[in-house]
C-alpha cells in the first residue's frame, strides 16, 4: 500500500534509527555514572523498595537491517542504565505520521520518536515538541555534522538530535558502467549508449515523476522551492529549465522510462536492465546480492556548472513536549545519539550517521558506499521544515506528472503548481459570530420538540411506548452502541464542519466551509477537484459499478444453476475468492497490474496484439481501471444473492412459460427477473451506498490520477483531512456534503428501482 496515510508520496521515511550516545567530553550521565557509583548506591538505597527504572518509549518506523541496528543499540544502552529503560515500538510506515499527529496532542504519544526533520515546523508551531536548546549544552552538538543539525532548528529553537542523514546519490551497475559520469552531458552520453528500449533496458532509471528525486536537478539548474523573499515560488525560469531537462531525459534522449515507481526501479536494477539509478540509502537493502554496483556523487549540470544537489533529510530523535519524564527522556535521546550508538547503527544498519567521529573508525572508513553519502552531504539542500513545505509536494508532483505525460510545457506545469499551492495554503475563512447559529439551533430544537409533542398527543403514542418496553429492551444494546459510537462521532464531525483548523488552532467560521465548497471557489465547476466534478465522477463510478456487479452476478448465477451440484459448488467456491481476500491487498496488486510499462494487463494486451494503454494517464482509462478492480471485488456478492434467490423460484413457472413457447430471453425477462427483484433490490441499494463511499479502491488503485480527476467524494474528503495540512473543518464540511449527496442518491435509486419500504 503506497502512502495510505502518509502525506508525501515521494518522501522516503524508511526507518528511523535509535542512536545511543556516550560521549567522553560530555559532562552528563556518562561521567556521573563513571565517577560516582557511590552516589548511585545511595540513590538506590533512597528509592522506595521495588523501584523500577522508568520506561521511556521510543517510536520508529524502521525495518530490516536498520531495525536490528537500533534494537541492538537500545539493548546496549539499557544494559548500561538503571534509571531508565528504552522500549522501542516499530510502527508501520503507512500509519506513522497520522498516528503521531493523533497521539501527540492528546498526551498519548511516546516519550521519544524518530522522524525526518521536515515535519518539525508544523509540530513545533502546535507546541508538540520539546525545545532542547535550553536544556542541553551547545557543546553537545559539536559531535554532529552542522548540516544535520541546522534542519532541526525552527523559529530559533532546536527541536531534535540528529541520528542519520539521507539523500539521493547515483547508483550504477559496475558491469555496465566503468566510470561514473561527472556531468550531465556525460550522463546522457553514457545512458544513451546503454539504452535499448526494445529489450527494455534503460541507461538511467529513477522515479522521474517524484519531486523528491527531482530535487537534484532543480537545485543543479539554480532553482529551488523558495524565492528570495522566503515564500514558495515555483514559477522560476531555473525551475522550468530543470523541468525541461527531465522531459528531455524521458522524451528526447529517451534514456529513462516515463513511469517508474520504487518497486520498478528496484526490479530493473536487480535484473541488470538499469545501468544507473538515482536513489537513497534505503535502496542498499533492496539491491540483490548478485548485482555488482557502486555509488557516486551526483553529476554537475553542464548547462550551469552547478553540481546537482538533492534534498537532505536529517533523521532525528524528537522529544514529545508532553512527556512525563522530560529529564530522563532527554538523557535517553542523548544516549541514542552518542558516538557509540552511532557506530552500532553505522555498522549494523549501514546508516549514514550524523556523528563526525564515527566516520574515522577503520571499519567505516573502508566502506566505499557510505563514503559517497558522506561526500554528497556538503552538496545537498535540506528540505525546509516550515509547514508550507508540506503543501508543496502535491502540486509539484502533479506538475511533474503532467509535464511527463506531455500535457503541459515546463512553464505551464509550474504555473499550475503555484496556483494549486496557493489554493492549498489559502488562509482560513474569517471568524464568524456563533450567536445566530445558537439562536437557529435553539429555534429548531424548540420546533422539533413541539412537533413531536403534538404528534405524540394526537396518536396516543405515549401509551404505545409504555406497551412496547420489552421491544426497547431488545433494542437497547444495539441502540446504545450505535448512538454512542456511530451517531455521536458523526454529530461531532458535523459540528467540526463549522470550524476551520490551522496548525492546531480552531476558529469558528459558521457555514463558510460549505459556502466555499459549493460555490466552487477554488476550482472551476468542471475542473477536477471541484466538488461538482467529483460528485459527477462519484455518481458515474457508483452507477457503472453496480450495473456491472448485478449483470455479471446474475449472469453467472444463471449459468451455474443448472449444473450438477458438486461442480456448481466448485465454481461457486472459486468465484467468491475475491470477496474473501482483504481488499486493500488486492487493490495494490491490481494497481501493479495496471502499470503502463510493466504491468500484467499491458503484457496481456501486447500478447493479443492490441496497443498498450497508459492506464493512469487519462481520465477514462483511470476510471476504467478503478471500476475493473471494484467489479472484480463486488460481483461475488450479487452472484451469491442471486443464487439464493433462484433457489426459491419454483421451476414450474419457467417450464410452463417454455411450454407456452416463450424463448429463453423472454422467459428470463418476464418470469425469472420479476421474481428475482425482491431479493436483488435491497442488495442494489446497499451495494450503491457501499460503492459510493468505497474509499480503499479509489485511493489505492488510481490514487486520484490523473491530477485528481478520478477521485470520488470520500477520497477527496480524506485528502483534505490528512494530506493538506490537516484542514479538518473543511474536510468535515466535505464529509457532511458527501452524506447529504448519498442520502439523495439512495433515495433516487429506491424510487427508480421501485423498492418498497423496509
Amino acid at each position: 500500500m503506497t502512502d495510505l496515510q502518509h502525506p508525501h508520496p515521494a518522501l522516503p521515511h524508511g526507518g528511523r534509527g535509535a542512536h545511543g550516545r556516550r560521549s567522553r567530553p560530555y559532562v552528563g550521565s556518562g561521567s556521573f555514572l563513571s565517577c560516582c557509583p557511590f552516589f548511585l548506591i545511595t540513590l538506590c538505597a533512597a528509592l522506595p523498595a521495588g523501584a523500577e527504572p522508568t520506561t521511556i518509549t521510543l517510536w520508529h518506523a524502521y525495518r530490516g537491517g536498520e531495525q536490528q541496528a537500533i534494537e541492538e543499540s537500545i539493548r546496549r544502552i539499557n544494559g548500561a542504565r538503571a534509571d531508565f529503560q528504552i522500549v522501542p515500538v516499530a510502527v508501520p510506515n503507512a500509519a506513522y505520521a497520522s498516528k503521531l499527529t493523533s497521539a501527540l496532542p492528546r498526551g498519548n504519544g511516546p516519550d521519544l520518536f524518530v522522524f525526518a526533520h521536515e515535519r518539525i515546523g508544523g509540530w513545533a508551531e502546535s507546541g508538540l515538541l520539546m525545545r532542547l536548546e535550553t536544556r542541553i549544552d551547545e557543546a553537545e552538538l559539536d559531535r554532529f555534522f552542522p548540516e544535520t543539525v541546522e534542519p532541526l532548528r525552527f523559529d530559533g529553537s532546536l527541536f531534535g538530535l540528529p541520528m542519520s542523514f539521507k539523500s539521493d546519490v547515483l547508483f550504477y551497475n559496475t558491469s555496465l558502467v566503468e566510470h561514473p559520469p561527472d556531468t550531465t552531458d556525460e550522463l546522457i552520453e553514457v545512458a544513451s549508449r546503454l539504452t535499448d528500449r526494445e529489450a527494455e533496458r534503460f541507461g538511467l532509471v529513477y522515479e522521474v515523476a517524484s519531486f523528491y528525486h527531482h530535487a537534484a536537478w532543480l537545485h543543479g539548474f539554480g532553482g529551488g522551492v523558495f524565492g528570495s523573499d522566503g515564500s514558495v515560488d515555483l514559477e522560476t525560469p531555473e525551475n522550468a529549465a530543470s523541468f525541461a531537462f527531465v522531459r528531455d531525459l524521458v522524451a528526447r534522449y529517451r534514456v529513462s522510462p516515463e513511469d517508474a515507481n520504487g518497486a520498478l526501479v528496484t526490479e530493473m536494477f536487480n535484473a541488470g536492465r538499469a545501468a544507473m539509478a538515482i536513489n537513497g540509502p534505503w535502496f542498499l537493502g533492496e539491491i540483490g546480492d548478485d548485482v555488482p554496483f557502486a555509488v557516486a556523487v551526483l553529476p554537475v549540470v553542464s548547462e550551469t556548472g552547478l553540481r546537482g544537489r538533492p534534498f537532505l533529510t536529517s533523521e532525528a530523535v524528537l522529544v514529545n513536549a508532553g512527556t512525563r519524564h522530560p529529564e530522563l527522556a532527554l538523557e535517553a535521546a542523548l544516549a541514542l545519539t552518542s558516538d557509540d550508538s552511532a557506530l552500532v547503527r553505522a555498522l549494523e544498519g549501514r546508516q549514514a550517521v550524523a556523528n563526525r567521529a564515527v566516520w574515522s573508525d577503520p571499519r567505516l572508513a573502508g566502506d566505499p558506499v557510505l563514503a559517497v553519502f558522506r561526500a554528497q552531504l556538503p552538496e545537498t539542500v535540506p528540505m525546509s521544515n516550515r509547514p508550507e513545505m508540506r503543501s508543496v509536494w502535491e502540486p509539484a508532483q502533479m506538475a511533474l506528472r503532467r509535464l511527463l505525460r506531455g500535457a503541459a510545457t515546463p512553464e505551464q506545469a509550474l504555473t499550475s503548481a503555484q496556483h494549486h499551492f496557493r489554493i492549498l495554503t489559502r488562509p482560513s475563512p474569517p471568524e464568524a459570530d456563533p450567536t445566530p447559529y445558537w439562536v437557529a439551533l435553539a429555534l429548531l430544537a424548540a420546533a422539533g420538540i413541539a412537533l413531536l409533542w403534538r404528534r405524540a398527543r394526537a396518536s396516543g403514542v405515549v401509551h404505545q411506548i409504555r406497551g412496547s418496553l420489552h421491544a426497547y429492551a431488545y433494542l437497547a444494546p444495539t441502540a446504545l452502541a450505535l448512538v454512542g459510537l456511530v451517531f455521536a462521532p458523526f454529530v461531532v464531525a458535523t459540528g467540526v464542519s463549522l470550524f476551520a483548523h490551522r496548525s492546531g488552532e480552531w476558529t469558528f467560521v459558521g457555514l463558510r466551509n460549505f459556502f466555499w465548497i459549493l460555490s466552487a471557489r477554488d476550482f472551476g465547476v468542471t475542473e477536477p477537484m471541484s466538488f461538482y466534478f467529483t460528485l459527477g465522477v462519484t455518481v458515474v463510478w457508483t452507477a457503472v459499478n453496480v450495473a456491472l456487479h448485478v449483470s455479471i452476478g446474475v449472469f453467472l448465477a444463471m449459468l451455474m444453476r443448472d449444473l450438477w451440484a458438486p461442480v456448481r459448488g466448485v465454481y461457486r467456491v472459486l468465484l467468491i475468492i475475491p470477496w474473501a481476500v482483504p481488499n486493500y491487498i488486492t487493490a495494490l496488486i491490481w494497481r501493479g497490474m495496471f502499470h503502463s510499462q510493466f504491468g500484467a494487463i499491458n503484457d496481456l494486451l501486447e500478447l493479443l496484439g492490441l496497443p498498450e494503454v497508459a492506464w493512469f494517464s487519462g481520465f477514462w482509462t483511470a476510471l476504467a481501471a478503478n471500476i475493473c478492480t471494484n467489479t472484480w471485488l463486488g460481483f461475488p456478492f450479487m452472484m451469491v444473492v442471486t443464487l439464493g434467490a433462484l433457489q426459491a423460484i419454483p421451476r414450474e413457472l419457467e417450464e410452463a412459460a417454455a411450454v407456452d413457447g416463450a424463448g429463453r430471453l423472454a422467459r428470463f425477462r418476464h418470469v425469472t427477473l420479476p421474481l428475482l427483484k425482491p431479493a436483488l433490490l435491497p442488495a442494489v441499494v446497499l451495494g450503491s451506498v457501499w460503492t459510493f463511499n468505497m474509499f480503499n479502491i479509489v485511493y489505492l488503485v488510481s490514487g486520484g490520477e490523473p491530477d485528481g480527476a478520478s477521485e470520488i467524494l470520500i477520497s477527496e474528503a480524506y485528502r483534505w483531512a490528512f494530506t493538506r495540512q490537516e484542514q479538518y473543518g473543511y474536510a468535515s464540511a466535505y464529509g457532511v456534503l458527501v452524506f447529504i449527496s448519498l442520502l439523495i442518491y439512495s433515495r433516487m435509486v429506491r424510487t427508480v428501482t421501485g423498492e418498497g419500504k423496509a
Binding site: T2, D3, Q5, P12, H13, A90, V91, P92, A94, A95, S98, K99, S102, R106, N108, N261, G262, A263, E267, E286, G288, S468, A471, Y474, L475, P477, T478, A479, L482, P489, V492, A493, V496, L556, L559, M560, V581, P582, Y584, I585, T586, L588, I589, M593, F598, V641, T642, G644, Q647, A648, P682, A683, V685, N693, I714, Y728, V738, F739, S746, K757
Partner: protein, 282 residues
Amino acid sequence: MTGRRAIEHALAHLLLVVVCGLTLYPVLVVLKTALSSTPALGLSGWPFPTELGFQSFVDVISTRDVQGRWLFGRQLLNSVVIAGATTVLGVAMACTAGYAFSRFRFPGRDLGMSALLVTQMFPGVVMSIPLYLLLDHLHLLNTITGLVLVYSTTSVPFCVWMLKGYFDTIPLDIEHAALVDGASRWTIFTRIVLPLARPALVVTALFSFMTAWNEFILAATFMGDDRSFTLPVVLQRYVGDFGTDWPHFAAGAVLVSIPVMALFFALQRHLVGGLTAGGVKG
C-alpha cells in the same frame, strides 16, 4: 434437443472456466510473488510460480520483537481474540435488534430501520478523529475492548437488516403456539427462533469476523504498541513510501487471507441460504 443441450452445457462450462481464470489471476500473482525471492512485484504476465521459495513465509512468521519474544504469534492471537469477540458481540447485538424489528411493532420502528441504512452512509474516514477522541475520553484507547466495540458497531447495521429479513420469513404460528402454552418471549427467542435462523446467524458471524479480521486503519491508529497490533497492521509494515517489500507483503497477505478463506469455504452453503432469504422480503 439433447445435442443442443450438450452444446449449451459445454458453452456454460467454458464461460465459467474463463471467468474463474480471470477471477483467480490476481490471487495467483500474489501467491507467485510470495514464493519468489526478488524484491519487486512479479510484474510480468505469467501467473504461475517460477520458483518455490518459502523463505518469505518463514521470515514473516518468525518475526520477533526487541525482547526476542515471538511477535507474529502474539499478533495472530490479538487478531483472533479481537475478531472472535467482535463476532460474539456483533451477533448478540444484531439478533436481538433484528428480532425486535421483525416481531414487534413500536413507535420509532420505521425510523430505526431507516437509521440503520443511514449509518452505512456516514463518511467513515472523516469520523475517525472524533472516534479517536471519544475512545480517549473513555480510556479505551490501546485496549481490546475499545477496538472490539468500534468493529461491532461497523458490522451491526448490515447484520440487523439481514437478520430481520430472515426472521420475517419464519412463520409466526410456532411462536403463537408457544405463547399460548405460556412460554416467555425470551424462551421463544432463544429456544425456537434462533435455532431456525442458523444460516442467517452464520452469515452474520462471518461478516462480523471479516470486518474485524481485515481492518487495518483503525487498529493502527487506536493501538499503541507492537504487542497489541493485529495482523493487517503488521502487513502494512512491509509497504514503505519508496518501495514495497513485495515477497514479504505477499507472504503476509496469503497468511492473513487463509483463515477468512477457510471460513468462507466451510460456510458457503449457509451464505447462499442466509443472505437471500433475508433479501426476499427486503
